[in-house]
């Protein structure tokens, strides 16, 4: 018998620098196509919902189908404001990084609808376990609840200045605000996923009514924590929303390095027996509706939901990244699901609740607000003008109380060793 020589499949994206963008691999169904299942529907009802893309807004900005959320125009306008503010924040802080006033920054441009709409759906007391790409959670929380960190606090953290509530300890954008329901961000990918499941299990153990929601990127779903989280969630049925932000890229690796194109990230959840949705992440109404559905499901003790948000990382991975090295220039302009801000704006204009003039005014207002805030924040210092923290400050919070061996190290410093 003739032997077939084996070969390794090494996936490659359709396009690379120099090529024209090609998103033909993203199958986009018409808006309004999908059924909205009952909160306790059996997992078999999610086979299609985890494979297609749930969409509410069609290309003309008209809402369609069962997933249309019941939401007032005012709520939508708040969402629009929070998205515009998040984008203005990102742009401004990236500029400040370019000026050398901080070491590092990451934007969420193109993905704002996901964090903004979900922050609006969850309640005070719930807990987000985010990644570094959900600044919109904090910005929205400040806007609608006024609790926890403000945008100003976020800026101070990015600048590591004397207003930094994390005392300069963390890399910029690794925010932490318990009062805002925003768990401390880790630099190690995926760890938050299991923690969110544990937090939700605790809420169940204590017969509480709070829910958790966590985020992970497409690339990071490869980490063991993702799979451990899904296993625990499928066994204990805790009240948690398991978001997967599929923004197509993980630094230079396209999403095909994290998942086989025959399936979707959401469909993995079905394999674990967890209801799973795959949703247009750039459609504010769809994000709102799916988040609300999952939150209600969790709050009614029906258990976890996985939501894959189909979106696109419009900016570079971080201030250290140059995406022109690995993907076509202007790929973001060809992204077939458009831009979340543009789409919600079009919808509101269609409803007769908004106008281009109002939108221009909003963008200008947010830009100015952010500019003014960032000027204030810089008065408290920056990386080029760091606050004079006593050296021993770095030993605070290593433990609750400073143990003797750290006291000794402080003494060594004080002796001028």
């Amino acid at each position: 018998m003739k032997k077939t020589p084996l070969s390794l499949r090494v996936p490659e994206p359709l396009t690379r620098p120099g090529d024209a963008p090609d998103f033909s691999y993203v199958q986009i169904p018409p808006a309004g196509n999908d059924k909205k299942p009952a909160h306790n529907a059996p997992v078999s009802e999610f086979n299609d919902l985890s494979k297609g893309i749930i969409r509410v807004l069609d290309d003309a900005g008209h809402p369609q189908g069962e997933w249309q959320p019941t939401v007032s125009a005012d709520t939508l306008i708040t969402g629009l404001k929070a998205m515009v503010k998040t984008r203005a924040y990102d742009d401004r802080m990236m500029l400040i990084q370019r000026q050398g006033k901080t070491s590092f920054f990451m934007k969420s441009t193109g993905e704002e609808a996901i964090s903004v709409a979900q922050a609006m759906v969850l309640k005070q007391g719930d807990m987000f376990f985010p990644t570094y790409r959900q600044a919109g959670l904090l910005i929205t929380n400040e806007m609608i609840r006024g609790t926890g960190w403000s945008t100003f606090d976020m800026m101070c953290q990015v600048l590591s200045n004397s207003g930094d509530k994390l005392k300069g300890r963390q890399l910029p954008i690794m925010y932490s605000s318990k009062d805002a329901g925003f768990f401390s961000i880790s630099g190690n990918l995926g760890t938050q996923y299991t923690q969110a499941v544990g937090w939700a299990m605790a809420s169940a153990i204590k017969k509480d009514s709070k829910i958790a929601s966590t985020f992970i990127g497409d690339g990071s779903t490869a980490e063991s924590d993702f799979h451990a989280a899904l296993t625990f969630a499928s066994v204990y049925n805790p009240p948690v929303i398991l978001n997967v932000t599929n923004n197509q890229w993980a630094i230079s690796s396209f999403q095909g390095i994290a998942n086989n194109p025959e399936t979707t990230f959401a469909a993995r959840g079905v394999g674990y027996g967890i209801p799973s949705l795959r949703v247009d992440g750039n459609d504010f109404l769809a994000v709102y509706a799916a988040s609300e559905w999952a939150a209600d499901r969790a709050r009614n003790n029906f258990g976890p939901t996985i939501i894959e948000w189909v979106t696109y990382r419009s900016s570079g991975h971080s201030s250290s990244d140059d995406p022109s090295k690995y993907r076509p220039k202007d790929e973001e302009k060809a992204w077939p699901l458009g831009d979340p801000i543009d789409r919600l704006r079009e919808h509101l204009i269609y409803l007769g609740e908004w106008s281009q003039e109002q939108h221009d005014a909003l963008e200008k207002e947010m830009k100015e607000e952010i500019m003014a805030l960032s000027k204030e924040a810089q008065k408290l210092g920056s990386l080029t003008d760091l606050p004079d923290l006593p050296m021993k400050c770095m030993f605070d919070d290593v433990y609750k109380d400073i143990p003797p061996h750290l006291q000794k190290q402080i003494q060594r410093i004080e002796r001028g060793e």
């Binding site: 490659e12 190690n188 995926g190 990071s220 990386l383």
Partner: protein, 337 residues
């Protein structure tokens, strides 16, 4: 000879190794098309093809675990962990598997893999882009741990690591990828092109594992250092004017204890410098071995100048970093005592 920085030297080592040995495969996060976030594997995929050089999913457990399996098959994987801070999800595969395979199978299976990881701080990377986990590696019997201090050594040591039949962790001090950083963050970095160790042969050569190098001969104090701290130590010698001998360990395990003992017996004084935190750091092992071997030659207590026992703080990183002033003061104390 060519002028290379450390990134280029590491890249060149990959080229030489892969040209002559078809069993070498290279993978890790962003290492394929992009050539790695620090560019160490640039051009390899183009040259050697996607079957041998590819991007991996973001799973350090997966990277090291599959490398163990490939090595068991007979390949020689050379894998990259994007930052040493991210080796922990792969730690079980490294400690319980790669390091133990030969012993538990009585030599039936082996794991000749090389795991490269950028280590150390000084780049304002905060606590998850700055750690120096070498002590967590040297504590593991069955693993070898290597850390070069310059481009010439990086290439020779990496080739030796790849050719070694045991699993080797190859730590790359990222602060000196582009130049010998002496510890002054507010001064411009001298590029490797201005340093003799930036002269690197384009052809294959190895530097044996387990051999230290005397970076500076001296008679009064022995400084044990490795990686970026070698340059800090050399600067401290300059600043203090004390005639210290600086030993660049190059391989932490197996340790070249003979070179150390010969030096400490000569100088009677020993300072250990590392960037990692103090308690149970690799300096503790060095200190114990110097004490065990050189007790009667020691004229003053061994000193450890290290990072403090705190997570690497973003804005206070230069308070944390054991810079040349601290090492120089230790030298002065060693002579006074």
């Amino acid at each position: 000879m060519a002028t290379m920085n450390m990134i280029q030297a590491i890249n060149s080592a990959h080229h030489n190794a892969m040209e002559t040995n078809e069993d070498i495969v290279v993978f890790g996060e962003d290492v394929g098309y992009f050539g790695g976030v620090f560019r160490c594997t640039e051009g390899l995929q183009n040259r050697f093809g996607k079957q041998r050089v590819f991007d991996s999913p973001i799973s350090e457990c997966g990277i090291i675990g599959t490398a163990v399996g490939m090595a068991a098959y007979g390949l020689r994987p050379v894998v990259e962990i994007q930052f040493a801070d991210y080796c922990y999800p792969g730690y079980d595969q490294l400690v319980s598997e790669a390091a133990r395979l030969r012993h538990r199978s009585a030599g039936d299976f082996t794991a000749p893999l090389t795991v490269r990881m950028p280590t150390g701080g000084g780049i304002f990377g905060g606590q998850t882009h700055s750690q120096s986990p070498e002590a967590l590696l040297t504590h593991v019997c069955g693993l070898k741990t290597v850390i070069p201090s310059n481009p010439y050594d990086a290439k020779g040591l990496l080739l030796a690591a790849i050719e070694d039949d045991d699993p080797v962790v190859f730590l790359e001090p990222k602060r000196i990828y582009n130049g010998p950083f002496e510890g002054y963050h507010d001064r411009p970095l001298t590029p490797w092109s201005k340093h003799p160790d930036g002269e690197v042969p384009e052809t294959h050569y190895t530097i044996p594992l387990g051999k230290a190098k005397i970076s500076r001969a001296g008679k009064d104090v022995t400084i044990l250092a490795y990686g970026n701290m070698v340059h800090v130590a050399l600067e401290a010698v300059k600043v203090s004017g004390i005639d210290a001998e600086v030993i660049d360990l190059r391989t932490l395990l197996p340790l070249d204890i003979d070179t150390i003992v010969a030096s400490v017996e000569k100088t009677g004084r020993c300072i250990i410098v590392h960037e990692a935190t103090l308690t149970s750091g690799y300096g503790a092992e060095l200190s114990a071995q110097v004490q065990e071997n050189c007790f009667y030659s020691l004229e003053t207590p061994i000193q450890r100048i290290t990072g403090w026992d705190a997570p690497y703080p973003h804005s206070q990183e230069w308070d944390y970093f054991p810079g040349p002033a601290r090492v120089a003061r230790a030298l002065v104390r060693a002579m006074e005592a």
